[in-house]
Structure formats: structure tokens, C-alpha cells
Amino acid sequence: MTTNLDKSKKQKLADILAEKGIGMSFQYGGKAPEEVVEREFTDLKPHPRVEKLYDLYLNTLSSTCMEFPYWYNRTYAEYEYEIPVYRRAKALSVAFERTTPVIIPGELLVFCKAPFYRGSFPMPQLSEAFFMAKEDELFKESLDRGGSSAGELSSIGAGGGNVTKSFGKVVSIAGKFGIRSEEVPALCRIARQWYKKSVDDLGNRWERKVPSYKLKEKIMRTMICMFDSGYTLPQGREVMSYYYPLEYGFDKLLEMCKELRDEVAGNADGDGIIGMDRLYFYESCIVLMEGIQKWIENYAAEALRLKEYTDDPQLKADYDKIHDCCSWIAHGQPRTFYEAIQMIQCMHTIVLNEDALSGMSPGRIGQVLYPWFEQDMAAGRITEDEVLELLELQRVKFTCFDVFASFGVVGGVLSGNTFNNLAVGGVNRFGESAANRLEYLIIHAGMTQPCPQPTLSILWDERTPEDFVLKCAECTKIGTGYPAWFSNRMGIEFIWNHYQKEGMTLDEARSYAIGGCLETAPAVWKTIHLNGKEYEIPAGASQPAAVGVHFISNPKILEMVLFNGYDQRTDIQVFEPHNKKLETFEELWEVYKDYYSQTIDTLCRCNNIQHDIWRKNNMCIIQSMFKPDCLERGHHIGNMGYRWNGTYNIESCGTINMVNAFAAIDKLVYREKKYTLDDIRDAISNNFGFYKADEINSFSLAEQVRKEGGEKYDKIHSDCLNAPKYGNDDPEADKFLVMWEKWFTRVAAPSYESLFGLPLYTCQNSVSTHASQGRACLATADGRLYGTTFADGSMSAYPGTDRNGPYALFKSATTWDQSWSQNSQMNMKIHPLAIKGENGTKHLAELIKSYLRRGAHHIQFNVCDSKVMRKAQENPDQYRDLLVRVAGFTQYWVEIGKPVQDEVIARTEYESI
């Protein structure tokens, strides 16, 4: 007798295919042992004080409050009639000056975004719509909350530090942030102040003037595109410049700004449009820097205050150290490694408080900090062990950073991550390896203190020393997903190709680093003077390297082509019907390009307006003070003060599902004529006889459940699944990747222009959108089912479809010229046994090099037994600190959504390489 359980089990796709003798394997190169295999190097530990602080972090809730927004808004109102840039500078300055400092006992590196260990705050000046929409709900909840939170803390373990639901006097916002119920009325009041005035609202008012605006609305509602960048995360995905305060200190910078202000006051100097703006910019820098100095001094004073509470000599010494350091760096150039790394922490926090931004990357700080490291080591002022401790502390401190944004952005795109990318390796101006001893320690700190931030990237070059490569490969084996491996050659080629039109030289191209997940971002070389010695360091010098059109769902556009521009999920006619019969693949491809071009054109124009409103009303002043060449030019980012301004891009999602769907249609409909296009449409509309992923709450293909009577689609589904697939060195699939990339990177993107009058480029990393956009997409002709997660990134194979091993996958991925794109993204999952021991490390390094040498841009790994992830999904509370690599970032397993979890589990696991 067959039980119901047996029946439902048989209805799962993997079992159905197995019955038919069609293997659907998610392992390659052998079979993993039954027992769970642990990763290597798990016995490494951080320094005791770091371990304690990290434990605290793991038990800390993501929290928000109204202190910074209150002072910002009050001052902004007070200066209502001032020139916009000065008004904003004054508001920021007062907010910094009055924010309460928080120092946790045991910390040596200090500064917090908000008065919490893990804090952030809302910025309704960018977008208040989210709070307005929730106002009644939040307000009512805040007034109703009378209980105590004492007994309920333990119930919110699932989800890590996310406040997934309200409890006691804590109200949950966006399923992530906790705010005290007493402060909710203040949040609602400030949000109301920005109604019809925020960048979001004003941008929307003006983007409606774009003739095709109605198309944009439909594109967004149907999730063909994921989100606007102009008011959600207008900055980030770029590399920091720490240069000016590290070289001059704030007092000298103030002096310089005052001299420059006096020089330009009243002079246009031949620029009748924005020449006069320089006066306002320099004055804004002055007032803002004064506020920042007070903020730093408040931390010095707080350290002294806390010292009075303790008799512990170590804690007293810590507080003295913090006090002396903060007192000094509020004014002067850092003198020691400790002061320099503290200055970096300070600057990074300041920048994060100016705007909602993710992906604000430290860049190559091992090279930035090297002057202080070298001199302190030579003078015996510090030991490598002390440096390691500071680097571990920096990891915890960076992991404490949160970005406050709406649920759609935090959950749907970011998975709660902040993407602070720290790069090592690369070459110097002269093309020599730039890897240094401090970077070796940075990698080691990533092993002794594994946590999401800063995520690490190695800019691998043929000249990178082999022992450094092996150290990085060892780090990869700990299973945190970092470092991500980048081809330095491809990075430089992309940067130089794209920025030559702005005057970039090859030497300058070599200073680049990675901003955010995988966003190749340009920089410049600057000279540090320290105790009579000169050092050249890289400094980020560009606009946000990933703003613009984000993210276009490639498979969804194909769906639009097949269904005459109509979206079945939402019942919206998105595009004008093409009314073509699509009798040849060429005709289908022409319509695809037409719909895609309409999408880019509309989104680009609307986004340009949003960003234009942002630069006029919410311009960035802090980063403008720090990044070359704003201080020299007297112009902020909005007036193109940065050295490199052509950074706007088009981000795509679901590339490989689109490629595989093209391959299936080409074979089954156009070449073999086994099915008509209507047969394919019918199968897609009926999801090949299966339930939707949302209906069964599972998002990987193998777990999908067939409906009763769905058998009639088995044949066509099997044929679609067995059609050529990318990742197997099969030209019948790979030719569609080449076709796509040639058009996307060389024809489509460069023909559109950003608000700065410069051409766009392509960016091909999916972040977490492959889950959200997969949920909005019907089944695809490659056999993928409705609502299941797309293949991640742009070069990863769709789970279970790469059947010929890693080298076949690499061949498929490098059939096109990757240097024409800002990035590409390849994720692989390797079982720990496949690379075990010293030989395993060497094999891993050779595998990586073989891929990068073929002309690849990027590769990264999850070294993890899939069984661990399955267990973690069942028992999240027991895996609070389990880290996995998602698309371009490392995140706690418990802080990512189920659709992404399912996709990571389903990725093909390589049992040998």
C-alpha cells in the first residue's frame, strides 16, 4: 500500500526524473561520505578580547534610533534658507557633534554609527515612503507596547541579530531593525516632514516627465527590474580614499580649506556655470570637519569617563590608549599604526553616516597602512601579534556596520549584508607585485576571526608571490567564502578600457580595487609622507561604481518576448505587443533586444533624474572631502569633483537561465522542430505540471512538487532539461552566452549615457536578486520552474547542470571577453575533502589560476559539506555563526532568506577537483 508521504515524495522532480532514468545530480567527481566532514583550520582562534567582543556581537540586535536623524533634521530646518550644500553640511556637522559616543569595554578600535554596538538609523530625506506606508501600523504598535523585553530575548535567536518581530518595547522595522517603541512617534514625525520632499518623492515627480514613464512603472511592478538606486543606496560599491586625513590630519586640512575658500571666494575662474560653487563647497567642508572633530573628541572624553568606573589595570590602559589616540587624530596626522587604523575606522564610520550606502569598501588598506606598519615594526613600537589583534578587532567592528533601508532593499537585494570589500595583492604603479607582509596578516586575521566584514578579495596577478597565493588558498578552505579571487589583468583591462576617455593612464589603472561585491572600481596613486619617507598608496577616486539600472531579470525579458509583452503573474501588458510569429531564432533575438533596449532606455532616463535630484538636494560632502580630486577642484561629487565619473552601470540577473532557455528553444523549436513555440508557451504557462515554488515554500529545482495530472508535461519538461546547458563546454549552449555578452557589453550598455554625460557599462553580479527575481518569473524553457531561484551571478552554472567537471565549466565561462564587463561572477561549491591538506591547498590554487589565466574575471568558493547547510536550515539556532558565500558576499546562514539558502544548498558540490 502506498502512503500519502510516499506519493508526495514521488511527485518531487528529482524522484520523477530518477524513475525515468534521468539523473539529476548535485554532486560531481564522486560521492560525499555519509558523515558530515568539517572544514580545515577550525582550531584557529582570535585574541581573547576579540573573541569576547565577537560573542557580544553575535548576541546583539540590529538596532536603530532617532538621535542622529533628529539633530540632522532640526538643524536642516533651522538653516532652511541657506544654500543647499551648506545647509546639508551644517545639519550633518551638528548631528555628528551631538551623537552619543559608545565604547564597549575591551574595544581598542572605537566609533559607532549610532549609539549602539550594532546600530544604524533611518534617513527619510532619501525616502520616507516606506515609513509613511507603515506609519499607522508602527505608531499603533508603539503605543500598544507595554510589556517587558526581559523574558523574550531568547526567542529571537532565529534570524541572528535581525529583529524579525516586535517584542516588549522593541518594534521591528523591515523585519531586521529594532527601535524603542518610545521613539516611533519621532520617526513618524520626521518621515512626515519629508513627504513630497525626499529624493524618492521629488525624483518620482520629475521622472514622470519621461515619456515612457508608464513603462517604467510596469517594469518595476512585474519585477523585470528590481529597484531604483537614486534614493535607496545612492552611494557605495566603491573604494574609500583615506588619503587626506592620513597625510595631513584634520587641522591641516581645515587650514587648507580656509586658504582655498579665500582664494576662490567671488571668483568664477572662467567657469560661468559652477565656478562660484567652490566657495560654498569649501565652507561646507570646513563646517563639517569641525563637527567631525568634535565627534572624535567626544569619544576621547568618553574613554576618560569610563576609565573612572574600573580598577582593572588593563581596562584603564585601554581607555587611556583610546583617549590619547582620539585626542590626537581629531587634529593631527596619525603617527603610529594604531592611530592610523583607528583613523580608518573613524573615517569609514563617518562616511557611512552621510548616506544610505552599501559596499563602501576599504579597498587595499594593507597597502594604505603599510607606511605605519613598516615604521612601527622597524622601531619596535608594535609586534606582529599586536597588529593581528588590531586587524581582528577591525573585522568585528566592520561586521557591526548595518545599513538601514527598506525591506525590499535589505532583504531582497542585500540579504542584510554591507559588502565592505578589502582587497589584497595586485600590482603597484610600476607593475610589480604589491602584496606585502601586512596583507599576509590581514588574510590570517580573516582566518582567526571569521566574520562577514570586511570581506576579502585577492587581486591575483602572475607576479603575486606563490606563498601569498597559498596563504589565500588556505583562507578559502576555512569555508567563509573569502577571499574572492580576481584576475588583476582583467580588472586592469576593464578599468583602463573604460576610463581612458577620462584621461586614465595604465599606471593609474593599476591602482584599482573592488568596491562592494565584485564592482571593479577605479582609484589613483597618492603619496604619503611619514617621518621623511615617501610611500605611494592607492586611494579610491570614483563615483559609486554600481549605480544606475539595477537589476534587469534576463529570463523575465525572454518571458515577455514569448508572451507578446504580457506578464501573467500580475496581469499587466508591460510592453507594446510585438505581434510577431517568431518563426526563426533570429527574429526572437531581435524582439528580445528590442524589449531589453526599451527597458534600459526607460530605466536609465528615470534613474538619471533620481540621481540628479540626489546630487542637487542630498549631495555627498564627506566623501567629497576625502576623495581625489574634490578638494583640489573645489567641487563635490555632484559637480564631478571626483577624478573618475563614468561609473554608472546596468546590472543583470539570471544570465545563465536565459542562455540555457535560448539553447533549449533553439534546439527543440527551431532546429529539431520537436515542439512549436506554442507548445513551449503552454508548458511554461502550466509550469510543466508542477506547483509554484511559493506554494510549497521550496525554491530549488529538485524539490519542486508535481501536481496531480501534471504528467502530461513530463516529456517536454525532460526534453527542456536535457537540452544543451551552459557549463559543459558545449558550443550549442555557450554560443548563446557569447551572442548575449557581445551585444550586452559592447553594443547595449555603451550606447546609454549617465547624468554625467558618460557611457554606461555592464555589471554582472546578482547579489541576492536571483532569488527575488526568480520568484517573479514563470518557468523557463531550460526546465527551471516557476518561482525557483535563478543561477547566481553570471558565470555560475545552474545548480545540477554542470555535469562535465570544473574545467568544462571554465571553458564555457571564458568563451567571451570578460574584460568588457565590470565583472563576472563564478561561484563554486567544493566539499572539504576535495582540497584537504597541503596538496589540496596547492590543487585549489592551481584550479583557480587555471581559470583566471583563461581570461576569467572572478571566482569564489563555498568550501562546505552541503549536509551542514541542510542541518542548519533545520536547526538555525545551532548554527548562529555559520558563514556561507552567497553571490558576491559572505553572510551568516541564519540571516539570509530561504530562497537563497535553497539555492546555495542546491549548487553542484564538487567532490574532487
Binding site: 557580544l56 532617532m66 551631538r98 552619543t100 569595554p105 550594532r118 518595547k169 518610545e182 519621532a186
Partner: protein, 85 residues
Amino acid sequence: MEKHSDCKHFISVDCAKGLCAWTNQMVVIDTPPCPRFEALPKCKICSNYHPDKDNMGTCTGLPDKSFWAYDEMIARNCPGFKANA
């Protein structure tokens, strides 16, 4: 009723808890403070603050003369703060 986050010896960790500076032990915000309690400067104990409803009120202690404020705002670095007598 006073709570731990109203005390100047409280080091804030998150929206639900913090550390006592005297003991370095974790304390939950919404629990009664100990006898060593000393008030942290907040708007709600400032003589320039005039409470209204919904935990909000008006501040008259800064150069802009009058602006809305809220009870729980920490005022340690506010130049207009004057503790209630």
C-alpha cells in the same frame, strides 16, 4: 518609571540591553535600575523641554527657539540641556 537606559552608568549595546559601567554585566533596559542609579541627561529631565503627548514635546533651549523633541532623546552633548531642579 525609570529604566536602565535612563542611567548615566549604562553603556548601550542594542535596543533591548546594555552593560552596567560599574560591573560590566549585561542588563536589560526594561528592568528596574539598582540603587546606584544616576539620571542620564535626556530631554525628559530638561527644564527647556515641555512634554506634550505620545512621548513627545517641545524644546525651547536652543537658538532656533522652539522645535519639537522627544522624551527619550539623550542630551549629553546638547548645549541647551539644563537638568530639572
